[in-house]
Assembly symmetry: C2
Homo-oligomer: 93 residues x 2
């Protein structure tokens, strides 16, 4: 819950869900159009990773991350959908 309570992290998760093939830090920040230092981005990804929300995989020089949909849906059915739906409602899009 804490991992998803931060507005930046929720928007990262929302972007990751839209991108089938996953995203890396640089792509994420450019899509979010928010100027965020890479150290900050790295921290957010670390929190999402350690809380089990995303899974990251190295592809050459970059790190591609995806939302762990299946694991989340089986453990907490409907949770992520409800949170993202609520977030979209508040933040347009």
């Amino acid at each position: 819950m804490h991992a998803l309570s931060d507005p930046v992290r929720i928007s990262i998760v929302a972007e990751l869900r839209k991108a089938e093939e996953g995203l890396n830090c640089v792509e994420t920040t450019s899509r979010l159009k928010c100027t965020m230092p890479k150290s900050t981005c790295s921290q957010h990804y670390r929190i999402l990773r350690e809380s089990g929300i995303i899974h990251s995989e190295r592809r050459g020089v970059e790190l591609t991350s995806k939302v762990r949909r299946k694991e989340l849906d089986s453990r907490f059915p409907g949770l992520l959908d409800a949170i993202l739906k609520a977030w979209r409602r508040e933040h347009g899009e």
Copy 2:
């Protein structure tokens, strides 16, 4: 989301949902069996109130709070249920 990301606040909301007639700060802390100074409890209630999750009403010397079920369910259908369900799963009960 931020209001519900704190473990103490989630457990307060869980207790409030169980109590039909609402609870005040003192009752809440005793039910949660956590030693929490009243100033801290007051802060948590304030955050829950300002985020629109609970509604508080003065009854004599005490302040009785209830979860705003209808408003939350109509604005964010399924959200609170999903969060509380996930929380119970992690914290037993």
